[in-house]
Symmetry: C2
Subunit: 514 residues, 2 copies
């Protein structure tokens, strides 16, 4: 007898029912699949299912594991099982389809998570089983939260990180390119407005390198590169679309989640985001699994260092750089970390559309375009060009600058946007409010984390036009009553909320008398 | 301007709506409060709320924080907010009541959880703020999961454990008794069937000591003492009811959750249970916060030690005992840990009603009553009597035995049950199945954890009659085909599931040829 006996079959053979009928309830539970069954339905009663039971639903050959919510009211019929949107998407099927409901097998791999919490390192088999179960949808949100907590801080060593990265690559698609060298770049984040990817890809592609860039959406920041790019062109490209863009233009800027490269990473994010925990191991696995799955061979990694950036000290940056190089080497790719200034936001805008406006200004060589964004992009592009053999060491900067200044990068960017589905005009927010300096003096420090919080409270990245424009770079002078940032929001409520938070903060910028 | 501006008021004053109308949806999401709002309602749109947003709902002077599920179908009306059962219970109110919907303040105390995950010990202020926020309902399930993971294994030191215990006492009620000495006992669990409390309380109370015992429901086991007692008498006593019982009978056996002693503990359980993580620190805080809040001054703690019990080695037991004594001393109570045999189940039954049958047999001095249960209860009662000054050291055992043998304990137990609301007959399961030995020999080892798993798969503790009866104590002899356990279940599906699991296991009992 099968250990996972279908409830409908009934071990004792005395069940009249042969399953329940599917019903889409239209409830968005975010990414966790939830199923709704009547407390008085045959299957709940015969199987002893209760609220928060984990159940397995089979519809034809497809199945999902879902968390059960028990319904006491006649919102659904006795013979129905309702599905949340996430469950509906994953299971497929149509309203009225017959489904079988089973007890799921215990998630065996969670014993490896428990062992890790108790202080025993992950084995490569253990972590591979965990990643498989996550991608199969077998982990509940609280199990994911326990896993992420166990991997946070410095709890993963190099060997565990290699195992995790490798496992994350293996459960997704892996792209192959008709080229011996495929370059890429990545920024570990933590620096608001640092949207150099949208400059580096066209510069590098214009020089003839292959750069099939996939980016993530925001994890704990007000905008991810995919969020920003999405205000300029479609980013949810499937593998075929991505391949067409890269074959035509040499590069693309696509959302990684849409192409199933390292799908485990995208599932982990649903819990990482609200918990807002940092982890060197998860970060390296997330970054490198995407790069390896994208078929990259040579990757430049931007590590912004600053007291309020994600990497807070040169020591921490060196440790992270070492881990990136070691894990890359173990898995067959060349990684070049580049430490950059992480003491202040890059450009003026923080939030998807506001960052897109900065990018466009640099690409178009407009007077007043943010020079810091331009300089960072050139530095990183130079490293990619040198790593990719398009420039001698020391010559990359000049090549990158010439491509940008000539307009070749701007033309390439437009061509990429068109190839991805058509260029768009980034939206503008309906509601803005300037936040005024209470003091005068020279700006000597900036709290990036709280600036990011304001942008998030204003609605970024969910509202693409929301965020802040920052007017007070390090070294600039402020007068009393002068605006040092402007909040942009898509709704009055969010504007008020971000404004109240901003105005309640002390020392978002630190001023020194001059 | 308030940082937590009510959405209904609207910062810009241009909202026509003044809130949403409550509607009970009858959806049981277990303990997490969930609210349901239409994606196209004014407040979702103006406030930027999305699926999985945390929102604050105010109904008159009462409020809750809930997780938002966004509804795309007309299951609820545009002007309505639906509530899950947990949210409905906590908020109070009636269908149609007007509620205001706000952005909740960020949960500041979670930064202490993050710091702990990164390796910084909890401060007493930090942990107090966490416990307050948990009791206020501000922690989501995944935040609770991160907290529990951070506290698991040996991650809490003595000082942190003292801080956590103290904080858990302070957020709940604390009972006062008209007595200088109030005794108590507790078992750290991990040993199926170890239901000595139902024997110790009547023995000790019959000797004139005050023992206002509160017990928990099952955390990771097939039955908690409260689950077992509930098959014999009501256990959900409020403080006044508990006081009346103890004033009349000297003792009670009540469910701790109903009297709001250490309410944080009951909230933590909702996530601890499915994660099934062990933690010395959480265990000590859970046990001692209940005892201190119950007004106990002298507490005997049963630590069963065995390879498959919760405490696996004498070394681990000594460490736990030391922590219990130290935390008790710091918080003003005398704790006496007693190490006991944890190598096999106690009694024959595992599961609420099956354990109750064992207890009744011992109380009634029935021939064939489980002697191991009787001996354990007498040993622990003896320690309580000696600690409470009712017997000289070394004389407690004789006193306890005389009270049990004379029928005084049985009369006291019946009186306690009547005082708690009336004695009940424990239910019997409708479906049973014997599991047969495949080998012959003498029983030399028993896997308590997997026995507990079978009882849980059979439906315990949710189905009170479910569980197993175990027929093969250490040292007994088994023939091929002889039943070594019998599964009891309330449904054929659960019976089949537990049976399939049991029959798939190797070495649930280890036999040696004789």
């Amino acid at each position: 007898m099968s250990y996972r006996q279908p409830a409908a079959a009934g071990a004792s053979g005395n069940h009249a029912t042969s399953g329940l009928h599917l019903r889409r309830l239209g409830i968005d539970t975010y990414q966790e699949p939830v199923a709704y069954m009547r407390s008085d339905c045959d299957i709940c009663r015969s199987e002893g299912f209760e609220a928060h039971s984990r159940i397995e639903l089979w519809c034809g050959e497809r199945h999902i594991v879902a968390t059960l919510n028990v319904v006491h009211f006649p919102m659904i019929a006795l013979h129905e099982v309702g599905l949340s949107e996430a469950a509906w998407r994953t299971l497929g099927g149509n309203d009225g389809d017959l489904v079988r409901v089973l007890h799921p097998a215990p998630v065996q791999s969670f014993s490896s998570v428990r062992a890790k919490i108790y202080g025993h390192p992950f084995t490569s088999e253990g972590v591979a089983a965990i990643v498989c179960d996550i991608v199969a949808g077998h982990y509940s949100n609280i199990e994911m939260a326990a896993l992420i907590t166990a991997c946070s801080g410095s709890h993963l060593d190099i060997t565990e990180t290699i195992g995790l990265t490798d496992a994350m690559v293996k459960v997704g698609q892996r792209l192959q390119w008709q080229a011996d060298m495929v370059v890429d770049k990545h920024c570990v984040g933590g620096l608001p407005g640092n949207r150099t990817t949208l400059l580096i890809v066209p510069i590098v592609a214009a020089c003839g390198l292959i750069i099939p860039k996939t980016s993530s959406r925001a994890i704990t920041s007000p905008a991810g590169t995919a969020d920003t790019m999405e205000t300029l062109a479609p980013v949810a490209l499937d593998i075929d679309a991505m391949r067409r863009v890269v074959e035509r233009e040499g590069g693309c800027i696509a959302w990684g989640g849409a192409v199933s490269l390292s799908p485990a990473d995208d599932l982990l994010i649903r819990v990482e985001h609200p918990l807002d925990l940092d982890s060197d191991g998860l970060l390296v696995a997330s970054v490198l699994s995407k790069k390896i799955a994208a078929g990259s061979t040579h990757v430049v990694i931007d590590l912004p260092v600053g007291a309020t950036a994600k990497v807070r000290s040169p020591q921490a940056a060196m440790a992270l750089a070492g881990r990136l190089i070691a894990v890359g080497e173990a898995l067959g790719i060349t990684v070049k970390p580049v430490l950059t200034d992480g003491t202040q936001p890059v450009g003026c805008g923080i939030g998807p559309a506001l960052e897109a406006h900065d990018v466009l200004a640099v690409l178009q060589n407009i007077a007043g375009a943010p020079q810091d964004l331009r300089e960072r992009a050139l530095l990183l592009a130079a490293n990619v060009l040198e790593l990719g053999g398009k420039a001698q060491v020391g010559q990359g900067m000049a090549l990158a600058a010439s491509v940008l200044d000539s307009g070749a990068a701007w033309r390439k960017f437009q061509a990429i946007c068109e190839a991805q589905g058509g260029m768009r005009v980034p939206p503008k927010a309906g509601f803005t409010h300037p936040v005024l300096s209470q003091h005068r003096g020279q700006v000597v420090a900036i709290d990036n984390r709280r600036l990011a919080s304001i942008a998030k409270l204003a609605g970024a990245p969910k509202a693409p036009a929301a965020g802040i424009v920052f007017h007070a770079p390090l070294g600039s002078r402020m007068e009393i009553g002068q605006p040092y940032l402007t909040i942009h929001a898509a709704s009055p409520g969010e504007l008020a909320y971000a404004r109240a938070y901003a105005e309640a903060q002390e020392n978002l910028i630190s001023l020194q008398e001059v």
